[in-house]
Subunit: 320 residues, 4 copies
C-alpha cells in the first residue's frame, strides 16, 4: 500500500500513526504536490479504510489482486469427505516410496489408529540422480489406494509427468505437485485439468507470491482447491538440510487464511527434529503436517534417515 | 563423521544400516584399501560407538571439537538468581528503546504481572541509518535498572561499543551482543571480559557453526555463560522481514542441548505474527522468547510496527 | 577428498603442505588409528596423486563420480555445423517472444551481421502469472526457423511441455530447458529422448551439483550434448533482480571444462547492466552469452525493460 | 519511483512506454482518483523528467536520498597521492597476514614491479575461531609501512577494534573495515573519526542499501572518502566459498558511479579462480581488485590456499 500525504510536515506524524497500525514506511517519495509513503510488504494486515482516517492522509492505494481465483477460494479444501483447513488439524503420513502391497497395508492400518486421515506414498519419485530408485509406478498406486480404502483414509501422491495425470487421478484423492515442479507450468495445467484438489509444495526458492501464483495456475486450469505445503527453502547452512520457513506458514495461515500443511521430514532430513518442528508448525497455525513414516527405516529404499517409526506419529499430538 | 568400510560390496548394506540410525551418506570416497562413507551434517544425533557395531564397518571417525568451552558449558545459564534453559521457559520483554523513566517503570510493572522475568530495553541502539534515533544512552540504563528492580526482574540490554562495556555491565544482568556485531570479535572479547552472562544474537547470515564459535569467543574471554538468540536470518522473500530459522532452534535445543531464546519481533517485523511464532518457538524447544512491547506503539520512537501491547504477552502462554 | 594421516603430530605440517596445493582442511576427524583431513569443496583442482606424495600422508580418497556421462562428454557441443565451447565464444541473441514473422526476419538479419550465430526466441513462454502472454506457440516456431535459415543462424528455443517436444525438436537446433524446469525430471527425459543438444538453464536455487545431475538426466535420456546456462540465482537483495553467479561460471569453465553460456538479461532485468556483465562473463571463461534483443522495446509484449537494441550487441565484443 | 496515471485505461500503454526506458512495473495500486505504478528497484537508471513526458503520466515521484554525504562524494577517492576510481584500475595486493619484516619487504618490492600500487596485509586479523592466529599486531603495522614506503606504495590494513584506530591510522593510508564489522556502528564511527579514507568491505548478507548506509555512517563520522569492496556474499552452494556478486559491482560502478574494488581471493577461497574472476571484475567496471599474495603459500600462517604467487598478479592485467 501507498499512503499519500499532502504536506511534508505531516510525514513524521503520519509515520507514527501508521506504526500504531503495524505499518512500516519503507521509503518516502515526493512528487510536486504530495509525499508518497510506500509501506513495507512485511507490515501487519490492515484495512485501508482505517489508514484513510489518519489525520493528514489524503489517499491510500491498494494493489490490485493478481490471484482472483485464490482470493475467492476460502480457507478450506474438501478432499473427498474430509476437509483440510479452518480449525481442523490434519495428519498426513506414509512412506517415502510405496515398496510392497503388504507393507503399505500394514502401515496404513497402524497410521489410521494414530489419527492419520490421509495416506501419502510415492509411486513415481523425483530423484536428483538419474540412477536412483524412481518408485514402482502405477502398480504402487493401486496398492496405495487399496491400503487407504481398507483403513478408511484418503490418498495423496505426486504427479511427476503430464503423461501420468490420468493414472494418478484415477487413484488419488489429492494430487501432489512436488517442490521441483512448482513452476513447471505445463504440468500445473495438466494437473489442474484433472479437476481434483491439489497439494502444492513450495519451490525451494519460491517467494510466497510465486507460490500463490502457481496455485492460481492450478485453479485457472480447473483444480478443485489447492492445499499449500511448506517443506523448507534453500538456506546457506547445511547443518539443517533445508530451512523450514514457519514465518511464511504463520503469514499464510493467520493473515491470508489459506490452508497450509508443513512437511518437516523433507525440511530437516533427520527424524530427531521432525516431531519438534511438527509441533511448532501446528502451534503457529498450520492446517496439518505431513510426515514420512516407515516401519523399518533400515530397509527403506529411499529417505530412510528422515522416516519416523509409526508410533512416533502419536507424539505430534495435533489431531483435532 | 566418516564411516570406513573395507569392501566395496558392503557399501550398500552399510548405507541402509546407517539409515536406521538416521544417517545420510553424503558421498562415498575410495582409497586403495577402503571405502569412506562421508555422513551428511544433517543426520540425526548418534553415538559413534553404535555405528561401529554395524557389520562391515571398520572404523568411525569423529570430528575434534572446535568449541571446548561451549561443550562444557551445560544447558543452562544463571542470570542473577534466575536460570535460563533446561526445562524452564523464560519470557523476556520490553520496549525497543527505553524512552522515559515513567514509561519504563509502568511497563515493567505490567510485564512482571504477565510472567516476564527479564526486562529488555535499548539504551544504545544500532541503527542502519546514521541519522536515526540511537537511544538515550547511559541515562536510560539507569531507568531500566531501577524499573527492573522495582518489578523484581532482571535486565538485558545491548552493548554496542567496546567503550560502553563497563557502563552497561554496571547496570545489566545479561549483556546482549546484537546480530550485526555477532562476529565483531574485538567487541566480543571486551564483552566477555566483563564476566557476566551474555545473550548472543545470531548474525543475519551466520551459520550455526559460526554462531557457536562466536559463543566460544565470549567464553574464552571470560563470559559466564552464553544464551543464544535466534532472530531470523536473511531470506530471499521480503514479504516476511527475516526468515525465522526454527530448524536451527530445534537443533540447538534438542540435539546440542543449549539454551536458545527466540526473538519473533525482529524476525517478522509485524505484531500480528509475533504471538503465533512465539508459540511455535516454545513448541520446538526454545528456552524462551524475547518480544518487543510498547504501551503506545503509535508513540514509539523506533520499531513501533512490531511492538506488542503489554497484554498480548499473556497470549504467548509459555511461562513455566 | 579426504587425506589420511597416521600421526596426530603430522596434521599441522600436512595441513600447510595442502595449502601449497590450494587445499583447505574443512575439519579433522580421528579414528583409533588415523587422522582424516576432510578437504573443503572449494579448494583448487588438484590431482590426488600429488597429494599422496606429501610426507606423512598415508592415503588420499577420491569421490566416485555420480555423473559418468557428463564426465565423458567433453568441453564442446556441436549444434548443427557450429560448435559451442572450447576456445570459441558464441553469441546467442533474439527477442523474449517471437512476435511476428516480419519482425523476427528483420531482427535475425541484423543480429547475424553483428556476429550472432544462434537465434533465440520464445514461442512457448513460461509465465509466473496464468494471465500473462504465453507466446504464439507452434506458428512462431516456424517463423523462427525460417528467419534463422535466411540469416544463416541456428535456432534455440524453450520446450515447456512434454507434449511440445516433437514440435520444437522439428524446428530447433538446440532445445532449451528453462530455469523453472531444471529439475522437472519427466520433462528432462522427454527432451533428452529427442536426441538433440540441449541448453540447460540453472534453477534459481540449484547447487552446481544438482545442475550437473540434471545434465546427466538429459544425457542418460539421449541428449546429444548439454550446454549449461547461468542466468542468475535467487539472492536476498532485490536491487538487482537475480544474483549472477560468475563464480560458478568460472568454476565450470576453468575447472570442470564444460561449456557454459551466461544470460545477463534475465539475471539483471535491466539493459544498462547487460553489456558490462556480458563482458565479465566472457572475461572469466564463459563459452558465450545469450541476450535478449528487441528492435522496439517499447512495443515488446514481454520483458521489454531488459531488451538490448540490436546495435548494442556489437558492444559486447566477444565474438571469436 | 512511482508513476501516477489518471485513467485505468492508460495503464497498459504507459507500462509499455516505461519498458522503453528500461522500467518494470512491479505492481499497480489504485486510489479513488489515480493509478500508481510502482517501479521495480531493478529497472535501469533513468531521469524522472523523461518519464513525466510520457503521455498519460500525471506525476512521477522520486525517493528522498537517505545518503546525502555519499551522494556528494563523487566517483573517486584520494589515497595519499594516488586516486582510486574514475577511469583508473588499481591493483591492491599483499599477504593475508604480515608474517615477518623480511618477507613483507621482499614481497612489496616484487608486487610494485607488477603494477601494484597499494600494499595490503593483516596485522590484526579477525578469526572465526578464538584459537586461531590473530596476526602480529602493531609491530606488523610498522613492517608493512616501511615495506610500502621502500617500494613506493600505499598501505591498506584492517581495523578490528575501536582501541586500535589510532595505531592503525598512524601507519596506514587507507583503513579497512572488514566484512564482519560492516554494521558494527561504534567501530564505524571510531574509524570515521580518524579522518582517513576507508575501504569498506560488504557484509556477507548486506543489501546494497545497507552497505551504502554503512558508508554514510563513515562519512558522517569524518571519513575522507569511502572505497567499497565486494568480497562475496553468502550463498547456498558451498562448492564456491562465497558468491561473488558482480551484479552489485556493475550496478555500483555503472549506475551509482562509485569506486568499488573486488576481492576475488576471499570470494572464492581458491587460487585457480582468482585470476578469471579478477578479470571479470575489471570487465564489468570495478575500480580495481584486491588479491592475496604469498611468496610461499605452503608456509602461510593463514589463508594459504587462496594466495596467488607474486607473478600471477601480472596475469590479471588490469593496470591502467
Amino acid at each position: 500500500m501507498i499512503v499519500s500525504v499532502g504536506s511534508a510536515s505531516d510525514v513524521k506524524r503520519v509515520t507514527q500513526a501508521l506504526a500504531a497500525h503495524g505499518q512500516w514506511v519503507a521509503r518516502v517519495e515526493a512528487t510536486a504536490t504530495e509525499q508518497l509513503l510506500v509501506l513495507a510488504p512485511y507490515g501487519a494486515a490492515v484495512d485501508a479504510a482505517r489508514l484513510r482516517e489518519i489525520p493528514g492522509v489524503r489517499a491510500v492505494s491498494t494493489p490490485a489482486s493478481t490471484r482472483p481465483l485464490l482470493d475467492g477460494a476460502g480457507s478450506t479444501v474438501a478432499v473427498g469427505d474430509i476437509v483440510i483447513g479452518g480449525e481442523r488439524r490434519t495428519l498426513i503420513a506414509g512412506p517415502c516410496a510405496v515398496e510392497s502391497e503388504a507393507r503399505i497395508h500394514a502401515l496404513a492400518s497402524t497410521l489410521a489408529r494414530h489419527g492419520v486421515s490421509v495416506l501419502r506414498g510415492g509411486a513415481h519419485k523425483p530423484r536428483t540422480s538419474p540412477y536412483a530408485f524412481r518408485g514402482h509406478g502405477d502398480v504402487a498406486l493401486g496398492w496405495l489406494r487399496d491400503a487407504a480404502d481398507a483403513a478408511g483414509m484418503k490418498v495423496v501422491t505426486e504427479v511427476l509427468s503430464e503423461g501420468d495425470v490420468d493414472a494418478v487421478a484415477a487413484r488419488a484423492d489429492l494430487l501432489q505437485v512436488g517442490s521441483r515442479n512448482m513452476a513447471a507450468f505445463a504440468l500445473l495445467r495438466a494437473v489442474g485439468r484433472a479437476g481434483l484438489p491439489v497439494l502444492l509444495k513450495r519451490g525451494a526458492a519460491a517467494t510466497i507470491d510465486e507460490w500463490l501464483l502457481a496455485a492460481e495456475h492450478l485453479l485457472a486450469a480447473g483444480a478443485r482447491g489447492v492445499v499449500l505445503c511448506e517443506r523448507g527453502v534453500r538456506g546457506f547452512d547445511h547443518e539443517t538440510r533445508n530451512l523450514l520457513d514457519l514465518s511464511a506458514v504463520a503469514l499464510l495461515a493467520n493473515v491470508h487464511r489459506l490452508p497450509v500443511i508443513v512437511d518437516p521430514s523433507h525440511a530437516t532430513g533427520r527424524r530427531d527434529l521432525v516431531v519438534p518442528l511438527a509441533r511448532a508448525a501446528l502451534a503457529c497455525g498450520a492446517a496439518g503436517v505431513m510426515v514420512e513414516v516407515h516401519d523399518q527405516p533400515e530397509l527403506a529404499l529411499s529417505d530412510g534417515p528422515q522416516a519416523l517409526a509409526p508410533d512416533d506419529v502419536a507424539a505430534i499430538g495435533g489431531r483435532s
